[in-house]
Amino acid sequence: MNERVTKLRQRSLETEAYISAERAELMTEFYRSAGNSSVPVRRALAFKYMLERKEICINPGELIVGERGEAPKATYTYPELCCHTLEDLDILDSRPKISYNVSPQVRDAYEHRIIPYWEGKSMRDLIFAEMSETWKAAYDAGIFTEFMEQRAPGHTVLDDKIYRRGFLEFIADINDHLARLDYLNDVEAYQKQEELKAMRISAEGIILFAERYAEKAKELAQMETDVLRKAELEKIAEICSHVPAHAPRTYWEALQAYWFVHLGVIIELNTWDAFNPGRLDQHLYPFYKQGLAEGTLTEEEAKELLECFWVKFNNQPAPPKVGVTAAESGTYTDFANINSGGLKADGSDGVNDVTYLVLDVIDEMRLLQPSSNIQLSKKNPDRFMRRAARIIRKGWGQPSVFNADTVVEELLRQGKSIEDARQGGTSGCVETGAFGKESYILTGYFNLPKIFELVLHNGLDPKTGLRLGLETGDPKGFSSFAELFAAFKKQLHYFIDVKVKGSNIIERLYAAYMPSPFLSILIDDCIAKAKDYNDGGARYNTNYIQGVGLGSLTDTLSGIRYHVFDQKDLTMEKLLKALEDNFLGHEGVRQLLLNKTPTLEMIMTTPTRSWWTFLTRTILK
């Protein structure tokens, strides 16, 4: 790591995160004076409005430019999705883990301008107004969470399109599709027109944003006294006036083009922060090879640029949550997770020289963001695996390892084409997807042990005494494990239905009120279908409910099956009493369950299979 990178990295690590009201203020300003237009066009105009006005920030010494907020670690909020209360801001400011400084000015802006405008108007308000009493009771009891009450959908990853084409070309595409709309026969033609217009406005917005960076770099260059830095700033100005309007010509331009796109996505909405360049090594390789061959790029320069690029990710904290999630989850980091290795679209080994460069950068930078993983295929060389293993063994947690061949298999099973599957990978935590072509909608965690707890209480929540679920029978009356498990399946099925009914409404609410035209430009086939990313415009649309607590559920089922039904050394009455007392005064029962329960392997596979059977039946129909 050279001196420049060391300084940039250090600054990124030392700067404290703070809440910036810039986006919330601009958004409020825009909506106060917004004229009458279709929803997608209004969203696009809001996006452009922000990019025309937001602060432009070029940090000393950096080579890749652009921040989401007005400075590194400025953290945006998204009041149109979910508006922080003053209490939320106080919690974020004072919570012990990963706090966000909240200045009196930000608090003031919220109190006097932002909250008064958005109160009752956010997506969150809309969602809760539309959910059934059953859904709300289950949500309150912690049976499931709902991701989209605070974040927009958009857990997705980019493919190679921005390295081949500039936004002017995307605009040409959009105009093409606009010209071909069939107003005579297609009853959706108007809707499509508005969506396409919205995409065009968003594309213009990002070009304008880059041009503002070019201007700023020029300005700084004129004032700069250091000759070397002056030249760098001139170069930055030249790059920013070329990308992302046009396709990148060089390695440096490729990285800068991606970074503008990244900022566009995370400024438009707070899309689960999983957005990332995906197969960065493969996207960069042609530029790298060309630069080296022409003598315009050295390996050291390529690495330095990549490290400057890394710092940009780490400068963007995750947008913090509201309510109990803000208070208790200690909102973590972003989830940009860069994939290396894997396969090429034609099925051959995807590892190249940039892959090793990326691994070196991971090793040297040791930053929380971006996260990194290797996609390990049997077609990859051992050198790749060894190099990654040498980093992993240092023990700081990156890169993670995925079986690329299994990932491809999984994507194929979900119906993706083989080429799309090979160019896919994993993102966020572990979610697989077809990069640049898929909308993965994460709907929330589903608490499996809680469902079982309801079964043990015949549908009542022992915490509140409220009836939440079906009456699946008094467990004291069950004469076999099969009966108990059948009751569990019934209760599980019931709540999956509750969840899915809610999700179906929430997804439509996003489609109708919160389209994301900028992201739609980036994900195939939104332009071709003239449909928004949040409205099924992507080539592949996947919904997830994330079942959690499988370990606890397995332990629970094993214990009950073994002791209550097989060994009969514990009665259901005794067990329920112990649970009611949280094991106080029942140490023997606790020790029995803890120490004398064998791991029943089939016990884990059975509920997992039930989970999948239900989910696929309900969702993939």
Partner: protein
């Protein structure tokens, strides 16, 4: 079919032969090494492990013990090991894990089912199953059955032995063993007798036969500071093994204290409490010396 007396089946073992292995520990050993780190493996038949620190005072053991080996004394439970007939009734009811029977009877089929669960790991890592102990060869009929079954399933087999066994047994099983891990401790037979309970002539003779007649033997020498790491013993071991086969593979296993607590749980006294693990430097010296004699030496027990 004869059942086996098993102490434990350990998954993901990487120190008992190549790759990822499942190690089956058989109970009972003809030796009584003072430094033994698995004292519960020495005796044949079941034993009771006792960990009073875990006791929650529920008193269930008191109710079920038919031999009066547990008494309540001023609110505490006291264990009279002399009275204990190792019937295991108390272990059945001891939920807190204070009382645990070590040693269980398992059929060939049961053990095989456990081994087969990890075949995918053996295949991927070049691993397999290791029969250890105690002394695995002391249960020759069971062992032979196990080995034959593993061969049928194409599972790589290793047998770890102290060598103090009937040569005929060794000869009978050797056809079904892919790898012998053969322990060699002390060359002085009197000292061997004093510290392990038996002389070493038979061990040396059996090793001679095995090295000459079996394709894959690794000699394993535990390095126990102050007991067998002296220059003379090291040199004698080196000379003896080289005389059997030039370039013979030999592994040095550094002594460790992991088993010391178990003596207390068994109601026994550990005779070598002062003993420390050998330093890496010393191990390197010994390895260097043995290599000079023409042996292929490695420190540690896992290998390819």
């Amino acid at each position: 079919m004869v059942d086996g007396q098993i102490i434990n089946i350990m998954k993901y073992s990487i120190h008992d032969g190549p790759g990822i292995r499942t190690t089956v520990f058989l109970k009972g050993c003809p030796l009584n090494c003072q430094w033994c780190h698995n004292p519960e493996s020495q005796r044949f038949g079941q034993e009771l492990l006792y960990r009073p620190d875990r006791c929650i005072g529920c008193g269930l053991c008191l109710e079920v013990c038919p031999n009066g080996a547990i008494i309540a004394k001023s609110g505490n439970l006291k264990f009279l090991r002399d009275q204990c007939q190792v019937c295991g009734a108390c272990c059945q009811v001891c939920y807190a894990g204070v009382r645990e029977l070590v040693g269980k009877t398992m059929s060939v089929r049961e053990v095989l089912a456990e081994i087969e669960k990890d075949v995918v790991f053996y295949d991927e890592s070049g691993g397999g199953v290791t029969f250890s102990g105690g002394e695995a060869v002391m249960q020759p009929v069971f062992l032979l059955e196990m080995l034959k079954e593993c061969r049928k399933k194409e599972i790589h087999t290793a047998v770890e032995t102290c060598g103090y066994v009937n040569l005929e047994f060794l000869q009978t099983i050797s056809e079904y063993v892919n790898l012998f891990l053969y322990d060699l401790k002390l060359m002085d037979s009197q000292k061997h007798q004093a510290l392990t309970g038996v002389p070493n002539e038979r061990i040396l003779e059996n090793l001679s036969w095995l090295v000459k007649n079996h394709s894959r033997v690794i000699v394993r020498v535990p390095i126990i500071p102050g007991i067998n790491d002296d220059e003379e013993n090291v040199a004698l071991i080196g000379e003896f093994v080289t005389s059997l086969k030039q370039g013979q593979e030999l592994h040095l296993l550094p002594y460790h204290k992991a088993g010391v607590d178990k003596y207390q749980r068994l109601g026994r006294t550990y005779l070598l409490p002062e003993l420390q693990s050998p330093g890496h430097e010393r191990l390197e010296q010994i390895a260097g010396k043995l290599e000079q004699l023409g042996l292929k030496v490695k420190i540690g027990g896992g290998s390819k």
